[in-house]
Point group: C2
Chain length 550, copies 2
């Protein structure tokens, strides 16, 4: 059977579960683009490479694998920040980049798009991926391609495959894609870790589960629900892990974020005599920027990297094996743990003439969510405010809550809805973030998607205003709602009052065949309660540094 | 005198000739932003970091030094591609990045914006700069800051200065900024190189000077004109070096770009018995993508890196010393070299009903340029077509003609006009490139600038269409002329015919208080002659690779 290196890569991507590839073409990768186009994979072109990276990252978070395909340096170095975010937040993203042909490099060292040397881009990507492979011949290509895809799936982190432009057309013999090797836990470490963890949990009087993002990334959500229900333990989620369990589950108590979160959740988690943390990094934002008070002596912290109990660590124990072991350990329920009383849900009563404020905006929007919504929050108050939305099913909340790169949300809506066409994205994005990447509404139109985009327009970087203000935090006031005129489709409006918001929601929800964009005018210093706490916390750090100066 | 590390950096930037810094603030760099704001430097905020990088690069090309200031990773990794372009094309750009405080790193390894480790960003920037300095204390800060600025000015390439956020406020004693050390040529190498070069040039019957971009970057333009006029040699410029000499100079014969350029220029340069190439890299695009026929036996190739004569090289010879030496070598004029007859200038006669085509578009626009215009061309046919515009003064043409990163032009117009407020930018940008970075019209409005932006709207990546076409080369047709509605200022219109173009030019030229944007509708495959030749050339390379496959 006749096969080329490029054709083999395409087939392996298909067999690994990809249906779409995001990117921007360029001459060093054009031959491979043609191969993609002739395959079953669909190529989604975006306005620029960074945005392709965000879209592919969102797709990867939902699909279990995503890919972005770009040209050399001008493409690769432009997508880098999105790849770094995928690394930091464990999103399995494959970066495919063209590069100058091996033959032409000899003749002409000054080929366009070159920086220092031909391996500049490769060296850069080593810093933000778990595997880099430059395919130079047909003999090694299968092993290299297989290794990259396997590493991506194993670590849920980005990998880099470089294709010099004279390589994809090289003929090769192997046609079948190799299968991933199975990785197993070290039996004795697993046994001891389980013994220790289960006796700690059995002895606990007020244990709590804290669920993190890896529950989703490693496909452990069903197991998590079993463990929660079998043990009867209350469960909180982190901000980065928000939506790994339905927020309507009776044992779900809320988002834990240290001093930034709701006091009842903070108290419940911090007063627990044993916290079983599953699949979460202890990031600064997850821990409320230093406001969390978690006693390591009471924590079992299980992640894909290792299992930590108090101050010691077990290596080579798979998170899945650990959780399955706990499930078999008969941890309960000793008695049915009463779910925390959720704050009483009061129906929102609109006051039509009242200017819209941040808190009432979120309260009203919360009522619009249903099981067909996916919430996508950009960084800043869109994230902190969005944390309180009640997510109905699993994995219907996307946000870069650790790496926090502004501009994720609009491109991510493209990637998310391409992967989950039946879900309608509700996108919350600040004006600053929208100005970074909002042009992807263009791709929204091209792909026939229908997100509702709320631009929280406070005319500046409000998160920063609370830390240290100056005119550098002001931004230009766009007529965001007029984007439909630029991209020749969609519907937009402005919201100044609660009455405007009612009308806007009604129209946007009914406008199912295209996107809607709602320009929500907010006072420059109006913000969510969580941001208030966060701002004060960071302010005190900056102030400490400033005092040194004085 | 009381001084801080941040204050010292600000003062050194001012003394080095900066008046503006471009960037986007973020919490790790906010304290330093406040210091910038309180200084004489003006901070220009852009929509995102990449665009700040392009603007600062353009500013650096015109000013001799530029700076971009961003936050850690989400900012730094986003500006990377623009910095890589500055490296490739020798633009003296200082990158200043905040980063997590040294003290907080110990307590909390999972600080937001972190990728693999705290030095990830530093390692990445080593690949695209000539100097990286992480300032960690007050004692070493002066030497580090001085080294970075000196390297930037010496090599005309980017440098990286990282400021952990607890560092700018550290007190320090030194207040005066150190001066650059003087670098001199090796006297014997210089002497021998000059002897050899001048005897080669004296013996030549039909010598030609080929001037490149370093004439501008190293401030050698006046010396170049003296050399040209003293010797009487005809002079051509490269595409990257376009405008290093006024294109109305009587000895100027045109842009040399191998088989891509005008035949009379190509013939004159390639038939010369000695080519004195001054300050140019022999890049693929400068050489017409492999179509140039230059015989190394007849070339004296002098750059900032070294002087090459035929197949041997002189190191440690400064370009300025070499040129000054040639000026004293009495090379001519033996006889007044008659300038090549320029193609007769025929006044453009508009045919109002005729659909606009690429060639006639450029011919008409050429008549609008005057000594108050700066031309900024994006990559693709905007560059290849723009190559034929006649630039009136020196350094009034900006384009990334080697690294060729799409999306440079609109942000570059911001940086250029901030530096040269009396020049009005005429910006030529394809629809694909505009979609990447066009939102900087927002910054144009904020800063009160008045560029005229021509969007050459052929509904796709036409350069690539000529290489290998597929639906991946199509892009969405925006109503580019309606951007004034988004940013609440400016004037826009559409051009379908030559009559439309006349009206558009008249209005735009009269509209001096704000920007104008002209949406020029072009047939998808219509293109300049140069692009025709380039496309065919690259097509044959791709075809060669494809034949291997068959």
């Amino acid at each position: 059977m006749s096969m080329t290196v490029g054709g083999y890569l395409v087939r392996c991507l298909e067999e690994a579960g990809l249906k779409h590839v995001f990117g921007v073409p360029g001459d060093y990768v054009l031959g491979f683009y043609d191969m993609l186009y002739r395959s079953h994979l669909k190529v989604i072109g975006t306005c620029n490479e960074m945005n392709a990276g965000y879209a592919a990252d969102a797709y990867a978070r939902l699909n279990g694998l995503g890919a972005v395909c770009v040209t050399y340096c001008v493409g690769g170095l432009s997508v880098l920040n999105a790849v770094a975010q995928a690394y930091a937040e464990e999103s399995p993203l494959i970066v495919i980049s063209g590069s100058p042909g091996l033959n032409e490099r000899v003749r002409s060292p000054f080929l366009h798009h070159r920086v220092k040397d031909f391996d500049t881009q490769l060296k850069v990507f080593r810093e933000v991926t778990v595997c880099t492979e430059v395919i130079e011949d047909a003999a090694n290509a299968p092993a290299q391609i297989h290794r990259a895809i396997a590493m991506c799936r194993r670590y849920k982190r980005p990998v880099y495959i470089e294709l010099p432009r004279d390589v994809p057309s090289l003929p090769m013999k192997t046609a079948a894609c190799a299968k991933d090797e199975t990785i197993v836990s070290d039996a004795k470490s697993l046994h001891e870790a389980l013994q220790e963890a289960s006796s700690m949990l059995r002895a606990a009087k007020s244990p709590v589960i804290l669920a993190g993002v890896e529950m989703h990334r490693f496909g452990l959500q069903r197991l998590l629900v079993q463990l929660v229900e079998r043990t009867g333990f209350p469960i909180a989620a982190t901000l980065l892990g928000k939506s790994v369990i339905s927020e309507r589950h009776p044992q779900f108590i809320g988002i834990y974020e240290g001093g930034m979160g709701h006091e009842r959740v903070t108290r419940k988690v911090e007063s627990a005599d044993c916290v079983l943390s599953l699949g979460e990094f202890m990031t600064d934002i997850n821990l409320g920027i230093g406001t969390a008070k978690l006693d390591t002596n009471r924590i079992i912290n299980a992640t894909s990297a290792r299992i930590s109990i108090r101050y010691h660590h077990y290596e080579e124990v798979l998170l899945r094996d650990f959780m399955e072991g706990l499930l078999k350990s008969r941890l309960g329920p000793r008695r049915k743990v009463a779910p925390l009383r959720q704050p009483e849900h009061r129906a929102f009563r609109s006051q039509p003439a009242r200017p819209i404020c941040v808190r009432r905006f979120w309260a009203r929007v919360n009522e619009c969510l249903d099981e067909n919504t996916i919430v996508i929050c950009d960084v800043g108050d869109s994230l902190f405010g969005g944390a309180d939305l009640e997510i109905h099913r699993r994995s219907e909340f996307l946000s870069p809550a650790y790496y926090t790169s502004m501009g994720f949300a609009v491109p991510a809506a493209v990637g998310a809805q391409i992967n989950k066409p039946k879900l309608r994205p509700m996108v919350f994005v600040g004006d600053g973030a929208f100005q970074m990447t909002g042009q992807e509404l263009s791709t929204v139109v091209r792909c026939g998607l229908n997100p509702i985009v709320f631009v929280l327009n406070n005319k500046g970087y409000t998160t920063e205003r609370l830390i240290l203000d100056g005119p550098f935090n002001d931004i230009h006031d766009w007529a965001y709602h007029r984007w439909p005129e630029i991209v020749r489709a969609g519907w937009g409006c402005e919201v100044h009052t609660e009455g405007d918001l009612e009308q806007a929601l009604e129209k946007a929800l009914a406008n199912t065949q295209e996107f809607s964009i709602i320009n929500v005018h907010i006072q420059p210093l109006d913000h969510s309660e969580a941001l208030d706490r966060l701002g004060k916390r960071i302010h005190s750090q900056v102030a400490r540094a400033a005092r040194k100066r004085a």
